[in-house]
Symmetry: C2
Subunit: 340 residues, 2 copies
């Protein structure tokens, strides 16, 4: 199985290497009959272009880095990159990315960035030409990777707004503030008089924004609310719900669906009825929203669509590096089910 090269194809076709290269890259101005002869030679020899050789001259790898970034933290229950992978959220993001990447024959390389060394590795990976750009799924707002990439002029698009608003970086995000408001308004419209919010990890901008939107809306509506901390896990949702129930709330906004499920289970463990004694609204519209009874009313974010747009933005940026950063904020929608 000695590998076939351009040279071999050229010999078989009786033309020069340059001509074969032109046919393969579908350059115009090659005589039709030559194209035919060359294609036949390619088929007969089973030729496949060597990517490294091509990359060396085109300076394109045909690959983008998908980075899941954040710090692991000490809390094993925390929202580190490891957990991100196992969360259906990441799978949905991957699926969305694929839908934009596949048609362009660009492939995603997965990388985790938790330590400083790993963050440097991300930059190096692009520098060495192994990938053309970065799709960054960054959770924490104190993550230094976005500004690192921006400083190093690495083409990058973020999933979720950048830590510093001033950073010249493209991103997609859902309007988390509006989502939090949607939850508050729905609970109020149901007649809830005493609200609670189960916050997400506050080092995440999205969790912060959901809470801010919820707060603003309750203030506007003149309803009291109490806050309990959570980590986005089912268990933390249950613990937070216990706190909130001790405060006598009758309506709860869980900052993600997993915690919403935990909240429902906790209420039921105490013999309370959802939504009659306490109503619960989640966030995400993930598969877990259907794993409880009643099913979870939730604020939906269109993750697949957002991810697809994210990839599209990066591809655009690679085609035209001069493009200014653009942000695409998606509207959340309320999905009403049984829990509120």
């Amino acid at each position: 199985m000695t590998t076939v090269t351009l040279e071999d194809v050229a010999r078989v076709a009786g033309v020069s290497r340059a001509t074969v290269s032109r046919v393969i890259n579908e350059k115009p101005d090659v005589a039709p009959h030559i194209v035919e002869v060359v294609q036949e030679a390619i088929a007969r020899t089973g030729y496949v272009p060597n990517r490294a050789a091509r990359s060396l001259v085109t300076r394109r790898s045909g690959t983008v880095l998908v980075v899941v970034s954040g710090t692991a933290g000490d809390d094993p229950d925390a929202w580190g990159p490891g957990e991100v992978l196992a969360d259906p959220f990441f799978g949905r993001v991957s699926g969305g990315l694929m839908s934009s990447l596949r048609p362009r024959d660009v492939h995603p390389v997965l990388m985790l960035a938790v330590t400083p060394a790993e963050r440097t590795r991300v930059v190096t990976y692009v520098r060495e030409g192994s990938a053309d750009g970065v799709l960054l799924v960054s959770a924490q707002s104190d993550d230094t990777l976005p500004s690192l990439l921006s400083d190093e002029r690495v083409p990058v698009v973020l999933f979720s707004r950048p830590p510093k608003a001033s950073l010249p970086i493209s991103y997609v995000d859902v309007d988390n503030r509006a989502g939090g408001a949607l939850a508050a308004e729905h609970l109020a419209a149901r007649g809830c008089r005493s609200l609670g919010i189960i916050a997400g990890p506050l080092e995440m901008a999205g969790a912060m924004d959901r809470m801010a939107g919820f707060r603003e809306a309750t203030a506007r509506l003149g309803i009291e609310h109490v806050v309990a901390p959570g980590t986005f896990s089912v268990e933390s949702g249950g613990r937070a719900m216990a706190e909130l129930l001790d405060h006598g709330v009758d309506g709860v906004f869980a900052s993600n669906d997993n915690m919403g499920v935990g909240a429902i289970l906790e209420a039921q463990d105490r013999g309370l009825s959802v939504p009659d004694d306490v109503a619960v609204v989640g966030f995400d519209d993930s598969t877990s929203a259907l794993m409880c009874r009643p099913t979870l009313t939730t604020v939906r974010q269109p993750i697949e669509t957002m991810a697809a747009e994210m990839a599209r933005l990066l591809l655009e940026l690679l085609d035209d590096p001069g493009l200014p950063p653009t942000a695409h904020l998606f509207d959340p929608t309320l999905v009403i089910r049984g829990s509120a």
Copy 2:
């Protein structure tokens, strides 16, 4: 930002390109003081080796393909590659792969293979040198990709046993048969007299094996059982449970946790108590096992460990292509919780 090359570093260090290359690749037999000078020059110039140039000569990409394969099917509820990504199962596999790959600085490229063209693309990708080998997460037993890769002599390791036992391919898998037996034995030991199994998609070898193991055990124990079909989704688990309950079963084995959750919800919707009226055992020990009440008793497969071993096997194979195919079958364990 003109790119720095070996040549530049060599000039700064006052040595030859070859020497710089040796230092970078940590070859022995370079004078200590030269090593120092070169490292300084590298630091000062900010040099990063060009991966394409290196690949061109070493014929190694430092990358492996992670392929999720299968046919999409007509049923939107079916178990296609798209759903595989969103399933926590895949996330756990990714996490496991990472743990073996990262220390070796090998990076996974994700690829979906649903159509024949995409299956060919997998082979081409390795042929063109874009990846050194393939980690294949293949669901369906009629998948042609394993034999295609084997025929083309592409280094590959499967997650789950190959469709044809005769194929000379390395793989890791859980002993699904033993797992099915574990479930049957546990239900029997609990005193269940009339069992049911919610089967997975039977085009998947694993689903088949779980059922076979369950069957063998019930036969051995002299207990009747009835079968209902499922697709691995929560909803299909509920539908199947409805069928089984109509048959009056008092113990159910769901071939995965999602269906187990669906089964519990269906029983409860009918006013039945789990586990008193009907006991339920799942398979996987995924996060969803904790999203229901009672929590789900389940047959655990050590996915992360299996995936890590899978990657280790491929790396080994790449280092020594002559190695014979090896199979690593992992033992399932029963995790007893509230549902059975």
